[in-house]
Structures are given as structure tokens and as C-alpha cells.
């Protein structure tokens, strides 16, 4: 009896989480996969035919947007690291007693809804708005200069909206570094740069890794920033999926694109994980 219990125990323990995964991940995924392999139209209904060519067509029709999304994702993620690292570093090592306050201040704008924040940027950057209008009036900018509708506006919006998701994990990683380790490095005649490169950076890397995981995926599949701040030449794959689903009622193509996006992101994330190792991420995540 006891032995049976012992053999069953791990399965029983995994049951709630497993059910959760099944209900909210596996079932929707399977539905989406099935839908992507169906043929038909919204009026006569869709039938499963294993029509994998939808993938070929969808990818060839929308490869521009797919590639653009990944490029925007990579660029935004790199900018995020560049901005977040110094901020997290400063708070972790020079924040003193006010660390929590600084972190809170950093997060404060993010209490406002994502969409509202993005729309605010639209108001700031608009062609005849208070930022560009005076510059145009005094002739510093040509009359038809604009920021809205450009890749810069979209990537800027992405960086702004996902900043906390990069700062926090890096901060957590940096914050747990014992200052004495750095002191030791300096005592052993390491220059500040060497100490940073050989001691701080490796110890902070898991935080960067977690930050990348938390930003790259949502950034690449985001459609709000591109929708609100972009133009028809900055369309991201999320917009295509939304339009295929809601405007064109073309469910197979929408599903095929969602699935493709997920596959590409998973491959990207796994190769990244292999290159950097995941153990330390778990440490950071479970701290």
C-alpha cells in the first residue's frame, strides 16, 4: 500500500499543475493547430483536411511582417538591456536606503494602462503636437517631418512599455551580488572595468537572461505599439493575426501565423538558453 502511494505521489503532486497546463495550454494549442490545418470559409464552415499549405502561403504572404517583428524584437531587446542595466546597477549599488523608492518611481508610470500609455506617446509625438510643432515653426525641422508612423516610433514605444520587465530581473541579479566579491577583485589588482567584466557581469547575466525572456517574446508579438504609433510600413505579425482573425474571418491563416510565431520564438529562446545555460535563471526566478 505504502509503496503504491509512494509511486503515485509524484503524479498526484503534478496533477493540479498538469491539469492547468492541459486546460489552458495544451487544449488551446491543439485547437489552434487543428484550425490551422482546416479549409473552408466562415459561411460554410471550416473542415479539417490537413491542409498544411496554409502555412506555406501564410509565411510567404506575411514573411515581411514576420521578419520585421523579430527584427523589432531583437532591436528593442538590445536597447532595453542597454537602458535597463545601468539603471538597475545604479539602484542596486548606489540606491542605499532608498532602493525601494527608486524602484517604485521607476515602476510608477506602469500603473497606467498599457494602451493609454501608448496613446499618450501618440499625443506627444504627433506632427502638430507640442513637441514637433514649435521646432517646425522656427524652421529646425522641415514641415513634413514626422516621427509617428516610423520604425523608430514603434521600437521606441516597445522599449518604453517593456522597460520594467528588463530592469527588475537585472536588479534582482545585481542586488544579490555581495559587494565584498567586488572588493576582493579590486584587492587583487583588477581595474574597475575588469572587475565589472569578470565579476559583476557574469553574476548579473542570469538576470539579463530572465529579462530577455520576459521582454523578447511579448515585444515580438506585440501589436498595440505598431497599431498606435506605427504606419502601414511598420506592421507587425500580431496585427496581421488580429486582422486575419477579426476582419477577414480567415481563421486557418490566423492560426497558422500564431503557431509559426510561437515556433520561431521557442526555437530562438531555446538556442539562447543553450548558449547561456538555464540553471542560474531558475535561481534568479526562485529567489
Amino acid at each position: 500500500m505504502g509503496r503504491v502511494k509512494r509511486t503515485l505521489a509524484p503524479y498526484l503532486l503534478v496533477l493540479p499543475g498538469g491539469l492547468w497546463l492541459l486546460m489552458f495550454f495544451a487544449v488551446p494549442m491543439a485547437t489552434m493547430l487543428s484550425l490551422s490545418l482546416q479549409e473552408g470559409d466562415i459561411v460554410n464552415g471550416y473542415v479539417f483536411t490537413g491542409h498544411w499549405q496554409t502555412y506555406v502561403e501564410a509565411i510567404s504572404d506575411y514573411q515581411t511582417q514576420l521578419i520585421r517583428s523579430l527584427v523589432y524584437g531583437v532591436i528593442a531587446t538590445i536597447i532595453l538591456i542597454v537602458l535597463a542595466f545601468p539603471a538597475a546597477y545604479w539602484i542596486a549599488f548606489y540606491g542605499g536606503k532608498r532602493k525601494a523608492t527608486y524602484l517604485f518611481l521607476l515602476l510608477l508610470p506602469f500603473f497606467v494602462s498599457f494602451v493609454l500609455r501608448t496613446i499618450s506617446w501618440r499625443l506627444i509625438l504627433t506632427d502638430d503636437g507640442f513637441l514637433l510643432s514649435p521646432l517646425k515653426d522656427v524652421g529646425l525641422l522641415p514641415e513634413n517631418f514626422h516621427i509617428l508612423g516610423t520604425s523608430a516610433a514603434v521600437i521606441g514605444g516597445l522599449v518604453y512599455n517593456f522597460l520594467p520587465f528588463m530592469v527588475l530581473p537585472i536588479y534582482v541579479a545585481l542586488e544579490r551580488i555581495d559587494p565584498r566579491v567586488v572588493e576582493a577583485a579590486r584587492d587583487l589588482y583588477a581595474t574597475p572595468i575588469t572587475a565589472f567584466r569578470k565579476v559583476i557581469l557574469p553574476l548579473a547575466l542570469p538576470g539579463v537572461f530572465a529579462g530577455v525572456l520576459m521582454t523578447f517574446i511579448p515585444v515580438s508579438s506585440d501589436y498595440v505599439n505598431s497599431e498606435v504609433l506605427g504606419s502601414s510600413s511598420t506592421t507587425m505579425i500580431g496585427q496581421v493575426i488580429q486582422s486575419q482573425y477579426l476582419s477577414s474571418s480567415n481563421y486557418p491563416t490566423a492560426s497558422a501565423l500564431s503557431f509559426t510565431l510561437m515556433a520561431v520564438l521557442l526555437v530562438g529562446v531555446f538556442s539562447y538558453a543553450r548558449a547561456l545555460g538555464t540553471e542560474d535563471v531558475m535561481k534568479v526566478a526562485t529567489r
Binding site: V43, Y62, T64, S232, S233, L246, S249
Partner: protein, 403 residues
């Protein structure tokens, strides 16, 4: 008179008010397309057999399409004893609305509404062809039969009003800021003018966009097929690749125009009237020489409606001349009841102060009362015979918007 609150639909509606007289005079709106195959002859009897008045109705409409105090609905309840269980302004865009209710309708379940107002769009065709709309029993629509403008029974998307009767109509044309363009705009070709590079707005709605592409290529939307759509798409692609189009907009185009993001844009007439009234701007609106489009929002009964008899009673109620007049006074779109115009004029004459001033300015605005020549240039949307055609159309124009 009721305090006015402005919004998109609120504004769009102003585009129409006009019309009645002129519109009806010019009943022959071009390009209404092929007649629609009607439903089986016994479908009406089959659907309505055994259906009885339940004393309650749920109504789904677009925002700001009725006075917020709902005087007409109160009057309806007082008159018929039918309670309006809910009046929800839940429809904001046709695509998402269809996507939202389609699973329930497919499963034969109620969507929670007995009456919904939908535009003559691709989705109207989807609702119709999927069998999601109840066939209307015209014997239950005496006011409609007596008072509606006859032209509405000729619309290609629902020939003979088998499934729908109009709520209101409006016009799609070009709006522009003359201070920025430096010259009057008169034709669609101006939307292709390199002088306005990066300053042109087009609609994201595939049918609105496709229509303008077709008209710019000299093709009547109602007489177009796949070959013509491809020509139109090439025309639109040319405009896009030259960097002329700043963005493909939903209703946000009006803000883009206000903020100088675009100088010249595809537009709904009423939006411009409203923008000028509420913000003191001086944007112009024209029906382009090559033609513009006219759209209609329609009252329909979902096939799974729990209270269809009550819903059709309410539909007919809006076709009583007095009710049509008060409704149009608030929503200011093209009213489908010609007789309402006389009633509205009477109301205007009786008004005083600001109300009178406002009503007079509305009445005298060329935006609100376009000329007969304008009406002669209006076309109905492209109509589709099959779901496959709809998808082909989407596939041809979709890549332009999503570039």
C-alpha cells in the same frame, strides 16, 4: 431639446440628415449590383410560425446612434407595452462583432439580442449567407411598407429587404485641410498626388478602401469582379509604394486630420461636419468627381433571437413618421423615411435660441445637405455572391493595409 454629445457615429450621422429629399430624388444610386438570391419561399412562414409577443426585447446598436435618454424607446414601451430589457451600444466595428457572435449563432444559441444594427459590409454578407439572419415577415412591417423610401428595397446586399431594413445611411468621400493642401480638392486622383506624400489617409476597412481603388481606376464597384479588384489593388499599391499614404485608419483618421498628420483623407461626411462644429476647424468635405460611396446601417433579427415578434414590432415602430423624425433629429444621418423631412422642418420652425440656430446651421450646411449632383456620384459597396468571393476580395486588398 436634448443636450448633444458628439462622437464618431454621432458625427457620421450628420453626413446624412440631408439627404432625404435629395437622396430620394436621386433614387437611382449607381452600382447597386446584382439581385440577391432570396430565401426559400416558405422560410418566412417557417420562422415566424408559432412565434408570439413576449413583452420584452434586447437591442444591440452602435454607440451614439440614439439620444442617450432614449425617448423613442420609452415611447415604444408606453405604446406597445413591450419592455426594452437592454439597449446596448456594443457594436463598434463589423469584423469584431461578427467574430464575437459567430460561435453562438453557429451553435444555434442566442447572442442575447433580438435586434442588431449591422452595416452593409463583408460581414453583412457573412451573416446573411451563413443563415444567421431571420427572414423578415413584411406583413408585420406595415409602417415600413407605407413610409420607407423605395430605393432601399433595391440594395444589392439585401434585395427586397428579405433580412433587413435600414436604420440610417451615410456617405464616404474626401476630407481635407485647405490651409495645408493650398488648393481645393475635387477628385480621387488628388489622393494619389505626390505633392501630398506622407500626408494622405485611407481607410483600413477593406471595402471602403477597395471601393476607392476601384473608382480611382474608373471602375464601378457594383460591376466589379476579381480582375477589376486586382486592378484596383494595383492602383492602391502604387499609391502606397510611392509613400503617399501615411496610414490606413479606422475612426482615428479624424484625429490624424485634426493633428496635421494627414492633410487629405478618405472620410465620412458627418465626422467632418461634427469636427468643424465642435472644434471650430474648417475642414472641407467633397464627394470626389470620380464618385464616392454610400453605406447603410440596417436593423436585423438574429436567427436565434428569443423575442423576434417584439423585435420586428420595434423595427416597424421606427418607421412611424414622427418617430423617424425625432430619431433623425438626434442622429442626423440619412433618414430612410422621406416623410420625416416635413416633420423635421416643422420641429425646426418651432425651435428657438441655440436649438434653432443649430438646426438651421445643420439644415443649411452643404456637408449635411449635399447636392443632387453629389448623390448622382454615389455608389454602393462591392457585393459578393459567395463566401469565396469575399475571401478573394479580402486576400487581394488585405496586403495593402498590412504591408
Amino acid at each position: 431639446m436634448t443636450q448633444r454629445r458628439f462622437g464618431r457615429r454621432d458625427a457620421m450621422r450628420l453626413g446624412g440628415m440631408s439627404a432625404m429629399g435629395a437622396f430620394l430624388a436621386a433614387c437611382g444610386v449607381e452600382g447597386q449590383g446584382k439581385p440577391q438570391a432570396s430565401v426559400a419561399p416558405d422560410a418566412v412562414a417557417k420562422f415566424w410560425n408559432g412565434k408570439v409577443k413576449n413583452g420584452t426585447v434586447d437591442f444591440a446598436n452602435w454607440p451614439l446612434y440614439m439620444d442617450p435618454k432614449r425617448p423613442e424607446l420609452k415611447k415604444f414601451t408606453a405604446k406597445t407595452g413591450i419592455k426594452i430589457n437592454s439597449y446596448d451600444e456594443v457594436i463598434q466595428e463589423m469584423g469584431p462583432w461578427f467574430a464575437k457572435v459567430q460561435p453562438q449563432l453557429s451553435a444555434g444559441q442566442s447572442i442575447g439580442y433580438d435586434l442588431m444594427v449591422i452595416t452593409n459590409s463583408i460581414q453583412f454578407g457573412q451573416f446573411r449567407d451563413a443563415g444567421f439572419l431571420a427572414p423578415l415577415d413584411h406583413s408585420k412591417l406595415p409602417n415600413y411598407v407605407a413610409n420607407a423610401a423605395k430605393s432601399y428595397s433595391q440594395s444589392a446586399y439585401d434585395m427586397g429587404n428579405v433580412f433587413s431594413i435600414p436604420w440610417a445611411s451615410g456617405i464616404t468621400g474626401i476630407a481635407y485641410d485647405e490651409k495645408k493642401t493650398g488648393r481645393p480638392i475635387t477628385k480621387l486622383a488628388d489622393l494619389w498626388d505626390p505633392a501630398f506624400k506622407g500626408k494622405v489617409g485611407m481607410f483600413r476597412d477593406l471595402q471602403e478602401l477597395g471601393n476607392f481603388g476601384l473608382l480611382a481606376a474608373g471602375i464601378k464597384p457594383g460591376e466589379s469582379g476579381e480582375a477589376e479588384w486586382k486592378k484596383a489593388a494595383a492602383k492602391l499599391r502604387e499609391q502606397k509604394d510611392a509613400g503617399i499614404v501615411r496610414q490606413y485608419y479606422d475612426q482615428t483618421y479624424i484625429d490624424a486630420l485634426g493633428k496635421g498628420e494627414v492633410w487629405i483623407t478618405q472620410a465620412w461626411s458627418g465626422d467632418i461636419f461634427q469636427k468643424n462644429v465642435s472644434d471650430g476647424t474648417d475642414f472641407k468635405f467633397v464627394v470626389p468627381e470620380e464618385g464616392g460611396t454610400i453605406w447603410t446601417d440596417n436593423m436585423t433579427i438574429p436567427i436565434t433571437a428569443a423575442n423576434p415578434v417584439d423585435a420586428i414590432t420595434l423595427m416597424d415602430f421606427f418607421y412611424e413618421v414622427e418617430n423617424a423624425a425625432t430619431l433623425a433629429e438626434y442622429i442626423n444621418y440619412v433618414c430612410p423615411v422621406p416623410g420625416a423631412q416635413a416633420v423635421m422642418k416643422k420641429h425646426a420652425a418651432e425651435a428657438s435660441g441655440e436649438d434653432k440656430e443649430y438646426l438651421t446651421s445643420v439644415a443649411e450646411s452643404p456637408l449635411v445637405f449635399p447636392s443632387e449632383a453629389d448623390y448622382a456620384k454615389l455608389h454602393y459597396y462591392v457585393d459578393f455572391n459567395t463566401a469565396e468571393e469575399q475571401q478573394d476580395f479580402s486576400k487581394i486588398f488585405d496586403p495593402i493595409v498590412l504591408g
